[in-house]
């Protein structure tokens, strides 16, 4: 069997990579911040923050998508605010990135947080007694020592974004060339008579991409271990 890809499929692959890359990179600063807060600070409301961050992990993605649609829709609180600057989220690539970000965020935070919690507190104490302020110790001790966990979290989130379906289809729709990522394209093929072969081709691409992501992540984790 030949692996044949229509121009529309190539577009879907490119869009998938764009969405996954953008959502992972855009979520990283907030992910690091939230992971730090959860790993190192104690404050009232911490459990609430933890719950909110983890909610998309347990909610059906369709529910997350619908809530986002309510928020960013024409009559939603953020939607109205953004329309003030002529910004539209729903049925756009931005919508797909937001949907992927929200669904993948808990995975990113969880991995980084576990890494940060594994750091021996004594290193931080040593850094403080040697004259490092807290932000200094974040840059010189915490971030380097959680490097592996950060890579692991980014990998998880990237892979999750590649496969995001439920929230994306509701918030961003399934518009070929605009918001149609690999899973949405596969979904469309399976609903089209005679589309099985095309669906299978994209499935193989999906498997290939996931393997590449895993290999890259393994390699970077190993390079961290060496240091």
């Amino acid at each position: 069997m030949m692996l044949t890809l229509a121009p529309q499929d190539i577009e879907a692959i490119v869009l998938s990579l764009k969405v996954a890359t953008a959502s992972t990179l855009l979520s990283l600063p907030a992910g690091l911040g939230v992971a730090y807060v959860l790993a190192f600070t104690r404050f009232p409301g911490r459990a609430l923050l933890e719950g909110l961050v983890n909610l998309p992990l347990v909610l059906p993605p369709v529910v997350v998508g619908y809530l986002l649609l309510l928020l960013f829709g024409q009559f939603g609180a953020l939607g109205r605010l953004l329309s003030f600057w002529d910004l539209r989220i729903i049925f756009t690539l931005k919508g797909a990135v937001i949907a992927s970000s929200v669904v993948g965020f808990p995975l990113l935070v969880r991995a980084i947080r576990i890494g940060m919690e594994g750091i021996d507190e004594h290193y931080l104490q040593a850094a403080r007694t040697l004259g490092a302020r807290w932000w200094d110790s974040i840059y010189t001790i915490i971030l380097p020592l959680s490097g592996r966990a950060i890579v692991a979290g980014m990998t998880l989130m990237f892979a999750r974004s590649l496969g995001e379906f439920g929230a994306t289809i509701i918030l961003a729709g399934n518009i070929p060339g605009v918001t149609q990522t690999i899973p949405l394209a596969i979904y469309e093929y399976t609903n089209t008579p005679g589309g099985d072969r095309m669906a299978l081709s994209l499935c193989l691409v999906s498997i290939g991409l996931s393997l590449i992501v895993l290999l890259i992540s393994e390699a970077s984790v190993r390079s961290f271990r060496k240091r």
Binding site: Y123, A126, R128, T129, L130, G131, A132
Partner: protein, 351 residues
């Protein structure tokens, strides 16, 4: 250095309370585990906040619960050498060593990295990862890193615990040399009497979260002779070993001692158990022991069946442990003239 402390802290069931003033440079904090030594270290370094009280170091207030002052660790300029070194695993030796120095304001950098690297013999290790250091190298690096942050006071939290005897005595000369060379006051925390005697002059004795007593390291050791335990050990600094037949002759102050063990060129530290010093009324005609030292009794201490006799041998002190019956038979009192007899094999070289 002048350190004034008056603090209280409750952690669960454990309550810590201490009030003392320290002047001088070489202090020991001694006590069994659970006595509050570590709590005190954390409070002084700013890693633990007391419930109430006040700490000042050379007139600078580090903590005052009434005035709501609590300087964070990085502003106290109190260095810590931790028991397990806690070297940063993602940095090589050089970056670990310079971590504190780079964070010290230029005006306060009184010690140069080159001087420390030379003093601690770290030159050949600089580019190495810290996971490839031996136990002794790790502690030397930890000390260098702390000293280079130019602290006003160094706290050493059991830095030798966990090292084997041989390694311990390799590190101690480095510790004493560096701390003396760069003139840094320190508090040495330990539950080992031997370490406390080698490192410090004066000691704060802690037990169950309270300061029980302050005394000199020598008094602490003599207390141990009376209380039992391992007994008293004389620590003798011997120098210039010369061959003496198949034995070795050393200078000990103005006196000479004959030993079995050869030593190094400079200062050699030997341990001699007080039980291994036998006393004779008059010079014996012939004996198998090689050292016969005429001396004068300068003090008698102890109680029960353990008596310590402090002897003066040409200006140097030596302690002999005997039983009260011997004290009566030899008719020992202050000023008595006796002969101390020591076998050449009774000395144990520490470094």
């Amino acid at each position: 250095m002048l350190l004034e402390v008056d603090v209280a802290k409750k952690i669960g069931n454990f309550s810590f309370q201490a009030a003392f003033d320290l002047a001088g440079k070489k202090w020991g904090i001694f006590g069994p585990s659970g006595s509050g030594k570590s709590t005190l270290m954390h409070i002084l370094a700013g890693l633990l906040t007391p419930d109430r009280g006040r700490i000042t170091l050379d007139g600078v207030c580090l903590f005052d619960s009434k005035k709501k002052i609590n300087l964070p660790p990085q502003q106290r300029r109190v260095g810590v050498v931790f028991q397990h070194a806690h070297l940063f695993p993602h940095m090589n030796v050089r970056r670990n060593l310079l971590y504190g120095w780079q964070r010290t304001p230029r005006a306060e950098r009184q010690i140069s990295p080159e001087a420390i690297i030379a003093a601690l013999n770290l030159e050949h290790l600089l580019e190495r990862g810290v996971d490839r250091l031996s136990g002794g190298e790790r502690q030397r690096l930890a000390l260098g890193r702390t000293v280079l942050s130019c602290p006003r006071l160094i706290l050493m939290d059991e830095p030798l615990t966990g090292l084997d005897q041989e390694l311990k005595f390799q590190i101690i000369p480095y510790l004493t040399k560096v701390l003396a060379q760069f003139d840094i006051p320190f508090l040495f925390i330990s539950h080992s009497l031997e370490e406390i005697r080698l490192m410090t002059d004066e000691v704060l004795l802690f037990g169950q979260g309270r300061l029980e007593q302050r005394l000199t390291a020598e008094e602490l050791a003599r207390r141990d002779l009376v209380a039992g335990g391992r007994g008293y050990a004389n620590l003798l600094h011997l120098s210039s070993p010369r061959p003496h037949g198949d034995l070795w002759s050393y200078r000990w102050g103005a006196a000479e001692l004959i030993l079995v063990e050869p030593g190094g060129k400079g200062d050699n530290l030997f341990e001699l158990g007080a039980k291994d010093v036998t006393l004779f009324k008059r010079h014996p005609e012939a004996t198998s022991a090689r050292n016969l030292l005429p001396c004068r009794v300068s003090d008698l201490f102890g109680e029960g069946n353990r008596m310590g006799v402090d002897l003066l041998v040409k200006g140097s002190h030596l302690v002999s442990q005997i039983v009260p019956e011997s004290v009566r038979e030899l008719d020992l009192k202050k000023g008595s003239e006796v002969v101390a007899v020591i076998k050449a094999s009774a000395f144990r070289r520490l470094y």
